[in-house]
Symmetry: C2
DNA sequence: CACGGATATATCAGATATGATATAAAAGAT
DNA sequence: ATCTTTTATATCATATCTGATATATCCGTG
Protein backbone atom coordinates (compact mmCIF):
# COMPACT_ATOMS: atom_id res chain seq x y z
CA UNK A 1 0.00 0.00 0.00
CA UNK A 2 1.39 3.39 -0.88
CA UNK A 3 1.93 6.06 1.74
CA UNK A 4 -0.84 8.31 0.52
CA UNK A 5 -3.45 5.59 0.72
CA UNK A 6 -2.27 4.63 4.18
CA UNK A 7 -2.40 8.18 5.43
CA UNK A 8 -5.95 8.43 4.21
CA UNK A 9 -6.96 5.40 6.25
CA UNK A 10 -5.14 6.64 9.31
CA UNK A 11 -6.92 9.98 9.06
CA UNK A 12 -10.20 8.13 9.21
CA UNK A 13 -9.18 6.45 12.43
CA UNK A 14 -8.11 3.08 11.07
CA UNK A 15 -5.31 1.71 13.20
CA UNK A 16 -3.10 0.91 10.28
CA UNK A 17 -0.29 1.87 12.56
CA UNK A 18 3.40 1.69 11.92
CA UNK A 19 4.80 -0.23 9.03
CA UNK A 20 5.42 -3.33 11.10
CA UNK A 21 1.92 -3.24 12.52
CA UNK A 22 0.56 -2.71 9.06
CA UNK A 23 2.33 -5.77 7.80
CA UNK A 24 0.48 -7.68 10.49
CA UNK A 25 -2.87 -6.84 8.95
CA UNK A 26 -4.20 -10.14 7.77
CA UNK A 27 -5.92 -10.40 4.40
CA UNK A 28 -9.18 -10.83 6.31
CA UNK A 29 -8.68 -7.59 8.21
CA UNK A 30 -7.85 -5.80 4.99
CA UNK A 31 -10.92 -7.20 3.28
CA UNK A 32 -13.15 -6.12 6.15
CA UNK A 33 -11.88 -2.57 5.85
CA UNK A 34 -12.41 -2.66 2.12
CA UNK A 35 -15.97 -3.82 2.59
CA UNK A 36 -16.63 -0.95 4.95
CA UNK A 37 -15.12 1.59 2.59
CA UNK A 38 -17.12 0.21 -0.33
CA UNK A 39 -20.32 0.54 1.69
CA UNK A 40 -19.37 4.09 2.69
CA UNK A 41 -18.79 5.19 -0.85
CA UNK A 42 -21.97 3.61 -2.07
CA UNK A 43 -23.98 5.09 0.76
CA UNK A 44 -22.78 8.57 -0.10
CA UNK A 45 -23.66 8.12 -3.76
CA UNK A 46 -27.12 6.81 -2.99
CA UNK A 47 -27.92 9.39 -0.35
CA UNK A 48 -26.81 12.35 -2.45
CA UNK A 49 -29.31 11.43 -5.14
CA UNK A 50 -32.33 11.95 -2.96
CA UNK A 51 -31.70 13.63 0.35
CA UNK A 52 -29.56 15.57 2.75
CA UNK A 53 -27.49 14.04 5.55
CA UNK A 54 -29.90 15.47 8.09
CA UNK A 55 -32.86 13.88 6.35
CA UNK A 56 -31.17 10.50 6.27
CA UNK A 57 -30.20 10.89 9.92
CA UNK A 58 -33.86 11.39 10.81
CA UNK A 59 -34.97 8.29 8.96
CA UNK A 60 -32.21 6.40 10.71
CA UNK A 61 -33.00 7.90 14.11
CA UNK A 62 -29.38 8.98 14.15
CA UNK A 63 -27.65 12.32 13.73
CA UNK A 64 -26.20 14.29 10.85
CA UNK A 65 -22.62 14.08 12.15
CA UNK A 66 -22.93 10.32 12.39
CA UNK A 67 -24.11 10.10 8.80
CA UNK A 68 -21.14 12.24 7.80
CA UNK A 69 -18.84 9.81 9.59
CA UNK A 70 -20.49 6.88 7.87
CA UNK A 71 -20.08 8.44 4.44
CA UNK A 72 -16.47 9.31 5.10
CA UNK A 73 -15.52 5.80 6.10
CA UNK A 74 -14.72 6.73 9.66
CA UNK A 75 -13.45 3.74 11.64
CA UNK A 76 -15.92 4.35 14.47
CA UNK A 77 -18.84 3.39 12.24
CA UNK A 78 -19.91 -0.24 12.26
CA UNK A 79 -20.94 -2.25 9.25
CA UNK A 80 -24.27 -2.51 10.97
CA UNK A 81 -24.85 1.23 10.83
CA UNK A 82 -23.65 1.37 7.24
CA UNK A 83 -26.17 -1.27 6.24
CA UNK A 84 -28.97 0.33 8.24
CA UNK A 85 -28.18 3.57 6.44
CA UNK A 86 -28.19 1.87 3.06
CA UNK A 87 -31.57 0.34 3.80
CA UNK A 88 -32.84 3.75 4.90
CA UNK A 89 -31.94 5.14 1.49
CA UNK A 90 -34.07 2.43 -0.04
CA UNK A 91 -31.34 0.00 -0.97
CA UNK A 92 -32.39 -3.63 -1.32
CA UNK A 93 -30.45 -6.60 0.02
CA UNK A 94 -29.57 -7.31 -3.60
CA UNK A 95 -27.92 -3.93 -4.01
CA UNK A 96 -26.10 -4.21 -0.69
CA UNK A 97 -24.90 -7.71 -1.55
CA UNK A 98 -23.76 -6.37 -4.87
CA UNK A 99 -21.60 -3.70 -3.27
CA UNK A 100 -19.92 -6.22 -0.99
CA UNK A 101 -19.43 -8.73 -3.77
CA UNK A 102 -17.59 -6.12 -5.81
CA UNK A 103 -14.83 -5.92 -3.23
CA UNK A 104 -11.61 -7.82 -3.71
CA UNK B 1 -45.34 -13.86 11.07
CA UNK B 2 -46.56 -17.03 12.74
CA UNK B 3 -46.20 -17.54 16.47
CA UNK B 4 -43.60 -20.31 16.17
CA UNK B 5 -41.28 -18.18 14.08
CA UNK B 6 -41.69 -15.26 16.43
CA UNK B 7 -40.92 -17.34 19.49
CA UNK B 8 -37.78 -18.54 17.81
CA UNK B 9 -36.59 -14.98 17.29
CA UNK B 10 -37.48 -13.99 20.82
CA UNK B 11 -35.51 -16.92 22.20
CA UNK B 12 -32.48 -15.61 20.41
CA UNK B 13 -32.83 -12.26 22.09
CA UNK B 14 -34.54 -10.34 19.32
CA UNK B 15 -36.85 -7.75 20.79
CA UNK B 16 -39.76 -8.69 18.61
CA UNK B 17 -41.83 -7.90 21.65
CA UNK B 18 -45.56 -7.88 21.92
CA UNK B 19 -47.76 -7.92 18.90
CA UNK B 20 -48.15 -4.17 18.82
CA UNK B 21 -44.42 -3.67 19.13
CA UNK B 22 -43.89 -6.23 16.44
CA UNK B 23 -46.17 -4.35 14.12
CA UNK B 24 -43.90 -1.36 14.67
CA UNK B 25 -40.96 -3.16 13.12
CA UNK B 26 -40.24 -1.30 9.96
CA UNK B 27 -39.45 -3.22 6.77
CA UNK B 28 -35.86 -2.03 7.17
CA UNK B 29 -35.59 -3.46 10.67
CA UNK B 30 -37.05 -6.74 9.48
CA UNK B 31 -34.64 -6.88 6.56
CA UNK B 32 -31.69 -6.24 8.83
CA UNK B 33 -32.67 -9.16 11.05
CA UNK B 34 -33.12 -11.35 8.01
CA UNK B 35 -29.66 -10.44 6.77
CA UNK B 36 -28.18 -11.39 10.12
CA UNK B 37 -29.99 -14.70 10.22
CA UNK B 38 -28.93 -15.51 6.67
CA UNK B 39 -25.32 -14.84 7.59
CA UNK B 40 -25.66 -16.99 10.70
CA UNK B 41 -27.02 -19.94 8.80
CA UNK B 42 -24.40 -19.67 6.12
CA UNK B 43 -21.61 -19.32 8.65
CA UNK B 44 -22.67 -22.52 10.38
CA UNK B 45 -22.78 -24.43 7.10
CA UNK B 46 -19.37 -23.20 6.02
CA UNK B 47 -17.68 -23.74 9.37
CA UNK B 48 -19.00 -27.27 9.83
CA UNK B 49 -17.36 -28.34 6.60
CA UNK B 50 -13.85 -27.68 7.79
CA UNK B 51 -13.48 -26.98 11.48
CA UNK B 52 -14.77 -26.90 15.01
CA UNK B 53 -16.19 -23.85 16.76
CA UNK B 54 -13.10 -23.68 18.92
CA UNK B 55 -10.83 -23.68 15.89
CA UNK B 56 -12.79 -20.91 14.25
CA UNK B 57 -12.79 -18.97 17.51
CA UNK B 58 -8.99 -19.12 17.58
CA UNK B 59 -8.66 -17.84 14.03
CA UNK B 60 -11.06 -15.08 14.94
CA UNK B 61 -9.32 -14.28 18.22
CA UNK B 62 -12.70 -14.83 19.80
CA UNK B 63 -14.15 -17.61 21.94
CA UNK B 64 -16.10 -20.79 21.25
CA UNK B 65 -19.23 -19.56 23.04
CA UNK B 66 -19.21 -16.46 20.91
CA UNK B 67 -18.99 -18.51 17.74
CA UNK B 68 -21.92 -20.58 19.00
CA UNK B 69 -23.92 -17.41 19.51
CA UNK B 70 -23.03 -16.22 16.04
CA UNK B 71 -24.14 -19.47 14.44
CA UNK B 72 -27.37 -19.49 16.39
CA UNK B 73 -28.36 -16.02 15.32
CA UNK B 74 -28.15 -14.54 18.78
CA UNK B 75 -29.15 -10.89 18.83
CA UNK B 76 -26.02 -9.89 20.71
CA UNK B 77 -23.86 -10.69 17.71
CA UNK B 78 -23.12 -7.89 15.28
CA UNK B 79 -23.07 -8.17 11.51
CA UNK B 80 -19.45 -7.20 11.83
CA UNK B 81 -18.58 -10.33 13.81
CA UNK B 82 -20.63 -12.47 11.45
CA UNK B 83 -18.69 -11.16 8.48
CA UNK B 84 -15.36 -11.49 10.25
CA UNK B 85 -16.27 -15.08 11.01
CA UNK B 86 -17.27 -15.75 7.42
CA UNK B 87 -13.95 -14.36 6.22
CA UNK B 88 -12.14 -16.53 8.75
CA UNK B 89 -13.76 -19.59 7.22
CA UNK B 90 -12.32 -18.52 3.89
CA UNK B 91 -15.42 -16.90 2.44
CA UNK B 92 -14.81 -14.30 -0.26
CA UNK B 93 -16.60 -10.98 -0.49
CA UNK B 94 -18.43 -12.47 -3.46
CA UNK B 95 -19.83 -15.27 -1.34
CA UNK B 96 -20.78 -12.92 1.48
CA UNK B 97 -22.45 -10.55 -0.94
CA UNK B 98 -24.28 -13.50 -2.41
CA UNK B 99 -25.71 -14.50 0.96
CA UNK B 100 -26.97 -10.99 1.63
CA UNK B 101 -28.37 -10.60 -1.86
CA UNK B 102 -30.42 -13.75 -1.39
CA UNK B 103 -32.41 -12.12 1.40
CA UNK B 104 -35.77 -10.59 0.65
C1' DC C 1 -18.27 39.78 0.30
C1' DA C 2 -22.09 38.16 3.27
C1' DC C 3 -25.51 35.01 4.21
C1' DG C 4 -27.62 30.27 4.57
C1' DG C 5 -27.76 25.54 4.00
C1' DA C 6 -25.01 21.53 3.95
C1' DT C 7 -21.31 18.89 5.60
C1' DA C 8 -17.32 18.03 8.63
C1' DT C 9 -14.91 17.63 13.17
C1' DA C 10 -14.68 17.25 18.30
C1' DT C 11 -16.38 15.63 22.55
C1' DC C 12 -19.12 12.97 25.64
C1' DA C 13 -22.20 9.97 28.55
C1' DG C 14 -24.90 6.00 27.92
C1' DA C 15 -25.82 1.75 25.37
C1' DT C 16 -24.40 -2.37 23.14
C1' DA C 17 -20.98 -5.82 21.69
C1' DT C 18 -16.88 -7.95 23.06
C1' DG C 19 -13.80 -11.95 24.68
C1' DA C 20 -13.23 -14.60 28.74
C1' DT C 21 -14.62 -17.95 31.93
C1' DA C 22 -17.45 -21.47 34.12
C1' DT C 23 -20.36 -24.98 33.32
C1' DA C 24 -24.10 -27.59 31.28
C1' DA C 25 -25.94 -30.33 27.66
C1' DA C 26 -25.37 -33.11 23.32
C1' DA C 27 -23.15 -35.91 20.26
C1' DG C 28 -19.65 -39.48 19.11
C1' DA C 29 -16.47 -42.96 19.91
C1' DT C 30 -14.89 -47.18 22.19
C1' DA D 1 -22.70 -47.27 29.67
C1' DT D 2 -18.38 -44.34 30.06
C1' DC D 3 -15.36 -41.29 28.33
C1' DT D 4 -14.19 -37.48 25.10
C1' DT D 5 -15.20 -34.02 22.06
C1' DT D 6 -18.15 -30.59 20.59
C1' DT D 7 -21.67 -27.24 21.18
C1' DA D 8 -24.87 -24.42 24.07
C1' DT D 9 -26.05 -21.28 27.98
C1' DA D 10 -24.99 -17.91 31.67
C1' DT D 11 -22.44 -14.16 33.57
C1' DC D 12 -19.15 -10.51 33.62
C1' DA D 13 -15.78 -6.51 33.17
C1' DT D 14 -14.07 -3.97 29.50
C1' DA D 15 -13.95 -2.06 24.92
C1' DT D 16 -16.33 -0.20 21.23
C1' DC D 17 -20.25 2.03 19.06
C1' DT D 18 -24.06 4.95 19.75
C1' DG D 19 -26.85 9.44 19.26
C1' DA D 20 -26.56 14.04 20.93
C1' DT D 21 -24.58 18.47 21.04
C1' DA D 22 -21.53 22.26 19.98
C1' DT D 23 -19.09 24.24 16.62
C1' DA D 24 -16.23 24.73 12.56
C1' DT D 25 -15.73 24.60 7.57
C1' DC D 26 -17.36 24.39 3.05
C1' DC D 27 -20.26 25.94 -0.86
C1' DG D 28 -23.50 28.02 -3.54
C1' DT D 29 -26.40 32.30 -4.23
C1' DG D 30 -27.62 37.03 -3.82
Amino acid sequence: MDKAKRKKLEDKGWKVGTVSEFLDLTPEETTLIEIKLALSRNLKERRQKSMTQTELADKLHSSQPRVANAENGDASVSIELLIRAMLATGATPQEIGQVIAQVG
